[in-house]
């Protein structure tokens, strides 16, 4: 009489949406670090020996880095209302998540417009 050991499937993260979201969220942290490193590297290359291909890659990296950062931030902002110190119904959690995203966008807009891009 032997028991059958159930082992995790190879592509377990494709089996459910929540697994996939988790997988993207976690792997995105690694991708973000890698993109930031490449971004710094190509910024350095473009500063000393700018060529058309490196400029294209540099521009592409800006967009990829932005997209990756947005995914990372949004997934965590959506996760945050799940752990409120009080019992919250699902609809309130959704409202909290949307509020957090709106606050983040507003703050990003204010900071980018008035802190970094403002030149008197």
């Amino acid at each position: 009489m032997t028991q059958f050991e159930q082992k995790p499937e190879h592509y377990w993260w494709t089996k459910k949406n929540s697994y996939l979201i988790y997988f993207i969220r976690e792997i995105n942290g690694i991708i973000l670090g890698l993109l930031a490193f490449l971004f710094a590297l190509f910024a350095l290359i473009n500063y000393y020996i700018p060529t058309p291909p490196t400029l294209v890659i540099y521009t592409l990296l800006i967009y990829l880095l932005q997209a990756s950062s947005i995914i990372f931030t949004i997934t965590w902002l959506i996760a945050m209302p799940q752990i409120t110190p009080f019992q919250t119904p699902a609809w309130l959690k959704r409202i909290l998540a949307i509020t957090l995203v709106i606050i983040w966008i507003t703050l990003s807009y204010l900071i980018s417009n008035y802190a970094f891009l403002y030149h008197p």
Partner: protein, 245 residues
């Protein structure tokens, strides 16, 4: 009209794992469990599966139906795509067909110290017994986490537990939280020490599937995150070994 079922079966004597297809007469109120009962009663399939209350209270009929972790007694065939694929719950060794060995999960509950240690000096005038009272507000704090029926669906849906069988797991953490919030309990410090050990609550990566599959809406995922925050303020000072002077 008939519905088609596809059942994963395991024979412990031969070690053989097979997919068996069968059909059952359909009616609107047919649950997955009743469909399996029909196969056993009318077609002599001899499918092994645990079941008892038939109303979502005992938590023994957990299974993976069409890739969803559910209680079979609460899952209606009318809501499912055909063929209805029935598998045993994941992350536990299969004893036979849909019956799994949940010993490992039960051991995890033990580490959460699931009982109250009452220290009371209040003695009832009438009975003479020592007791502690609980107000409706205090009861409300533990209402949600008290609903756990130990069906192990959260363990089945947890990929962290799938890769690390020593992880305390969602239900045990929710159980620890239930007793920690109990106003009559005096074991909070010991319980926190237990659940914040190496294989404790910090192994959770907040996937959230355990809360989705919970048939009693216990929300173990949210509880785990709250325990992590509480644990940060409580456990490190206790767990760092003191140097001998």
């Amino acid at each position: 009209m008939e519905i088609k079922l596809k059942i994963r079966r395991y024979n412990p004597e031969t070690g053989q794992l097979i997919w068996e297809e069968a059909s059952v007469p359909f009616h609107q109120d047919l649950t997955v469990m009743e469909a399996l009962d029909y196969l056993n009663d009318h077609k002599q399939k001899q499918i092994s599966f645990r079941h008892s209350c038939r109303m979502g209270i005992c938590g023994s009929c957990g299974a993976v139906v069409n890739n969803e972790h559910v209680l079979m007694c609460q899952t209606f065939c009318r809501d499912l795509k055909q063929p209805i694929v029935i598998e045993p719950i994941k992350n536990f060794p299969v004893i036979k067909d849909l019956v799994v060995d949940i010993k490992n999960g039960m051991e995890k509950f033990r580490t959460a110290l699931p009982y109250t240690k009452i220290q009371s000096n209040h003695t009832s005038e009438k009975s003479g017994y020592k007791h502690l009272l609980q107000s409706p507000t205090q009861r409300k704090k533990i209402e949600q986490s008290s609903q756990c029926i130990k069906c192990m669906l959260c363990y089945s849906a947890c990929p962290i537990f799938a890769f690390n069988q020593n992880f305390i797991g969602p239900a045990a953490a929710a159980l620890a939280d239930r007793y920690n919030k109990d106003n009559r309990d005096h074991l909070k410090e010991s319980r926190f020490r237990e659940i914040t050990k190496d294989e404790g609550i910090y192994k959770c990566s907040f996937i959230g599937e355990c809360s989705k599959v919970c048939p009693k809406s216990v929300d173990p995922s949210g509880t785990l995150q709250k325990l992590k925050i509480a644990g940060v303020f409580k456990s490190p000072r206790k767990s760092i070994p003191q140097k001998n002077k």
